[in-house]
């Protein structure tokens, strides 16, 4: 585990609805507690409609959340602007571009450019020598990657873009990003999965695609929301016969116990498949029964992810 949080950049990926954001937060807290200056990056205007509902304070600025922990929500338009500012040293040139809005048109017309500058910003945060003036130096950058249909999409962006721009500064930039992402010394990849049929298949496919299409290995797989095995096999039999004898609420409670035992068992089978079909080590995270994840629940996960 040390290995994962020792990397400068940790990309947390996986399909929607698997608890990626929660795992990202737990990892960021674990890194911060270990004394690393950590920043947690969300990619704005992606899957997380949560912004719409409980709009938080986190914006494009690096905001301190706790000791050693900062957070940022990366906005593609802001990233684009920052990118241009960093590229053009002459103020008159920048003004010319920004006044004309031509760069907005370029962003609209060039497939993948917004995604590229988003990754570019993440990379910039992870640099030991920040490009942004008086930028804070971080030890660890944790990215809650956007959920896409095809998991490799986000990480493949730099290479995709390098193919669009054959030569020139943007291609060089894209290639530098691609090298950074594919360097296992600097970048780590964690995949969040669920112990269910489809998510297990998808995780195995994602690991394979990341290796074949992007050329990166997965450092760790988190198998999230695993039910506890509360009842031993022999106890299940006793509960079964008790369910037949009991009446009323006691009967309902016995049936709930049997349902839990069935799910816990089915999940263990899926967990075994996950371990069998994936090369990366699998860490399990417990199902949290409280509906709204509180601080105490996160605490438990912080220990579990690290």
């Amino acid at each position: 585990m040390r290995a994962l949080l020792d990397k400068r950049l940790v990309i947390v990926t996986g399909k929607g609805g698997v608890g990626k954001s929660t795992v990202s937060l737990a990892l960021a807290l674990a890194a911060a507690r270990a004394g690393k200056r950590t920043i947690l990056c969300e990619v704005a205007s992606q899957e997380h409609l949560s912004h719409v509902f409980h709009s938080s304070e986190v914006g494009y600025h690096e905001t301190q959340m706790a000791e050693n922990l900062w957070a940022i929500s990366i906005d593609p338009d802001e990233s684009m602007r920052e990118y241009v500012l960093l590229q053009l040293k002459v103020k008159a040139m920048r003004d010319l571009l920004f006044r004309s809005r031509i760069f907005t048109y370029l962003a609209a017309a060039t497939p993948g450019l917004k995604e590229l500058v988003t990754i570019g910003k993440i990379w910039e945060l992870a640099l030991t020598e920040r490009k942004v003036k008086s930028g804070r130096r971080y030890d660890t950058v944790i990215v809650d990657a956007p959920a896409t249909g095809h998991g490799v999409g986000f990480m493949q962006t730099p290479r995709t873009f390098a193919n669009v721009a054959r030569v020139g500064p943007m291609r060089q930039q894209a290639e530098a990003l691609d090298r950074f992402i594919r360097d296992p010394k600097r970048t780590g990849v964690a995949v969040v999965a669920l112990p269910e049929e489809m998510p297990v298949n998808e995780t195995a496919a994602l690991e394979r695609d990341l290796a074949e299409e992007v050329g990166v290995g997965v450092d760790r797989i988190y198998c999230n929301a695993l039910y506890p095995e509360r009842f031993a096999e022999q106890e299940v039999e006793r509960i079964e016969s008790a369910a037949d004898r009991a009446n009323g609420v006691a009967r309902v409670a016995c049936r709930a116990a049997l349902a839990e035992a069935r799910r816990a068992r089915a999940q263990r089978e899926q967990l075994a498949r996950l371990e069998e079909n994936c090369a990366a080590p699998v860490t399990t995270l417990p199902f949290v029964f409280t509906p709204q994840l509180g601080v105490a629940d996160i605490e438990g996960l912080v220990e579990a992810v690290a």
Binding site: S50, V52, A109, T110, M170, N201
Partner: protein
């Protein structure tokens, strides 16, 4: 709330929408199978390469062309198809896009110029919304063929569940917008739009992009310009289909706070876009299947039934956890009903087994097609 069969009465298109990880693909497949079992010719269009689902439908793989699910599978499952048919296909955005270009291109030369252009090659996979647009495109094409009574569309697991709603519009805006005019002829039109200094501006831009990127963009837009009308026309017809009263949008979500909030948001967006909303399907609900309030002492009763104090305590603790989940789900669903102002909400319980075959789909359908909420509760209680 009545069931899916009533909701889809007289409908020709059913769009399942929602964010990722809420069982959208499974729900779409279950609805399609259920309607086929009721004598309809149904095609389900999915985006997710759900391999096991394809296996379970007896299809080696789902390709860009629809395939019929073997009726023998229905019979084997004890389902009388009564003249219905189930077809399935998996959408390939790139292939569909290529196909549209082939159909729309005025001549072979233009077609080849577009298909081999680097910008285009990335466009069909990387432009936000292009996958969504192609899903709509394929939906329209199959609808126009009138070969099916009902089409069920599983929308892409997009970054934003709403992307597909304005995907057709976005694509046409993209190809006919200012970006197009600017990059089509950087020297000429660009000059007109940006006035004097345009040449200098482009030279500044080139410092960032390099020469080739601008050239490729220019070429791409020039080749594409002849097809703008065709695309606009198609996008218009797709939009007509989506807003037609014979189309029904079903929002699929889970019972937790965040998915419910998203469903509410999605419902509002559908209304704003004047898309016909059918109902909400809430998957994986923890039902309180029986009246859990008793007057006896639960611990004592459990201890007596199990003859084991310690095990009884654990059974009781487990029960408390599940009741808390059920209560939370109940509150969230009540909020959903209050917010969307309709009781068109169908709840599917958290099933003990994952759904990955026809039998599993039919198990889901006992709930989806039940004629009332009361019937659903009764089924859950007897499960």
């Amino acid at each position: 709330m009545s069931g899916i069969a009533e909701l889809l009465e007289g409908k020709r298109v059913c769009v399942c929408a929602g964010s990722g990880g809420v069982g959208k693909t499974t729900t779409a497949a279950a609805i399609a199978a259920g309607m086929a079992a009721r004598g309809k010719r149904v095609a389900v269009l999915t985006i997710d390469p759900a391999k096991r689902l394809a296996d379970s439908l007896g299809l080696p793989e789902l390709g860009n062309v629809e395939r019929r699910v073997d009726p023998a599978l229905f019979e084997a499952g004890g389902i009388e198809a009564s003249g219905g048919e189930l077809w399935a296909m998996m959408l390939d955005a790139k292939q569909t896009f290529d196909q549209v270009v082939r159909e729309q291109a005025p001549d072979d030369e233009t077609r080849d110029r577009i298909l081999s252009n680097r910008i285009y090659q990335q466009l069909s996979v990387a432009l936000a919304g292009s996958q969504e647009y192609m899903a709509m495109e394929k939906l329209y094409e199959i609808h126009a063929s009138r070969r099916f009574d009902l089409l069920v569309l599983d929308t892409p697991p997009s970054r934003n569940a709403l992307d597909f709603l304005d995907a057709p519009k976005r694509l046409t805006q993209f190809i006919e917008g200012r970006a197009l005019q600017v990059f089509m002829k950087p020297a000429g039109l660009g000059m007109r739009i940006f006035g004097r200094g345009a040449t200098m501006m482009f030279s500044v831009l080139r410092r960032i992009t390099g020469v080739d990127l601008l050239q490729d963009l220019s070429e791409f837009f020039q080749a594409f310009s002849g097809m703008v009308d065709g695309f606009r026309e198609r996008a218009h017809r797709v939009n007509e289909l989506l807003t037609d009263p014979s189309t029904s949008f079903l929002v699929v979500c889970g019972p937790q706070g965040e998915p419910i909030a998203e469903a509410v948001y999605f419902h509002r967006k559908l209304e704003q876009a004047q898309m016909p909303f059918g109902g909400v399907i809430v998957n994986k609900v923890h039902y309180e299947t029986e009246d859990a309030e008793g007057d006896g002492d639960l611990h004592a009763d459990l201890a007596a039934a199990l003859s084991d104090e310690e095990l009884a305590a654990r059974v009781a603790a487990n029960f408390d956890d599940f009741r808390a989940l059920a209560a939370s789900d109940r509150r969230n669903i009540e909020r959903l009903v209050a917010e969307i102002g309709t009781d068109a909400v169908i709840e599917v319980p958290y099933l003990d087994e994952d759904v990955h075959d026809l039998a599993g789909l039919m198990e889901v359908n006992r709930y989806l097609f039940a004629s009332s909420s009361e019937e659903r509760e009764a089924i859950a209680a007897s499960a």
